[in-house]
Subunit: 181 residues, 2 copies
């Protein structure tokens, strides 16, 4: 894993600009990443609204619950989706009102609220998930398989860099093979 300091310096020197505090390349990279993310997100948002009269946060929350057979707590969902607890509470309120989700205190620990999809919720999600998967494939259709694989790999490296820079506070979530995050 060790890279000689000389190699790093050489790499630095091969960069276009030589100004000392120049990080324009990383900035451009971030802006492009953000653009891609925003484009996909808003397209999915539009299609969910038009085709299923629902929203992305609701869909994402249901997707988490669908993956768990035993249900999830508010805190678990909040961590998975990387949103605040209060936000989960609010989105769940909407899903409860629509009868798509069930919420009940855990037997052992009455602080904990266990969330599960209702039968209706599972049906509704299944229909949406199928379409959603197609939409995503359609959006990435311009990339060849080797490119998507390479991109996936580099984003994994990016994720590791981010966790390293931010601090491994929530280090209980390694990027395991089956992990879709």
């Amino acid at each position: 894993m060790e890279i000689p300091v000389n190699a790093l310096l050489l790499d630095r020197e091969t960069k276009a600009s030589e100004r000392p505090g120049d990080h324009k390349d990383e900035l451009r990279l971030w802006l492009r990443l953000l653009t891609c993310s925003t484009l996909i997100e808003s397209e999915i948002r539009t299609r969910l609204r038009e085709e299923f009269k629902t929203t992305l946060p609701r869909f994402d929350l249901m997707a988490q619950l669908e993956k768990s057979t035993t249900g999830m707590t508010v805190g678990e969902v909040s961590q998975r989706l990387m949103v605040s607890n209060g936000n989960v509470t609010a989105v769940v309120a909407g899903l409860l009102a629509d009868g798509l989700v069930d919420k009940r205190p855990a037997a052992q620990d009455r602080r904990v609220q266990v969330l599960t999809l209702t039968a209706q919720g599972r049906r509704a999600f299944k229909a949406m998930a199928e379409r959603h998967e197609d939409w995503i494939a359609e959006l990435f259709a311009g990339l060849e398989p080797a490119e998507t694989a390479q991109l996936f790999h580099l984003l994994g490296r990016t994720k590791a860099s981010l966790h390293n820079a931010i601090g491994r506070r929530q280090s209980g979530t390694p990027d395991s093979a089956g992990d879709q995050t």
Copy 2:
């Protein structure tokens, strides 16, 4: 640019799964892209709040204005940031109240509102932009230069794929060399 159909079919067949409508790879790619985007965004959001008592939308809006010497209209900013007009109106209202932005109807067309940074706004932005650039570099520090270049390239390809799938409605914004989007 033409790729023989046979080559594509072969590529398809090399994939792990052979189920007909399987697009799990693209889904995983999207989720990982979203994770990276969310991690960066919320870290920058936190730092902007803690260090400058401001928000990301305000910073992004100011960044757009700073790049333009003659000012920008509400519509232009809205297109650049990929947010609704109404949202720009609201964020600008905050910046106006803080004396960071100036808004005035255009001389020729009084429907149009021209936005510019005030002197105070430029000062404030300059201080933030410097730190912001460092933060981004710090977050990507785990990638080697060759990797950031490769990632930048692949995200460019992704962007093209997205525009192609979504429809080139706003085709007036090509991904030119100096374009930071």
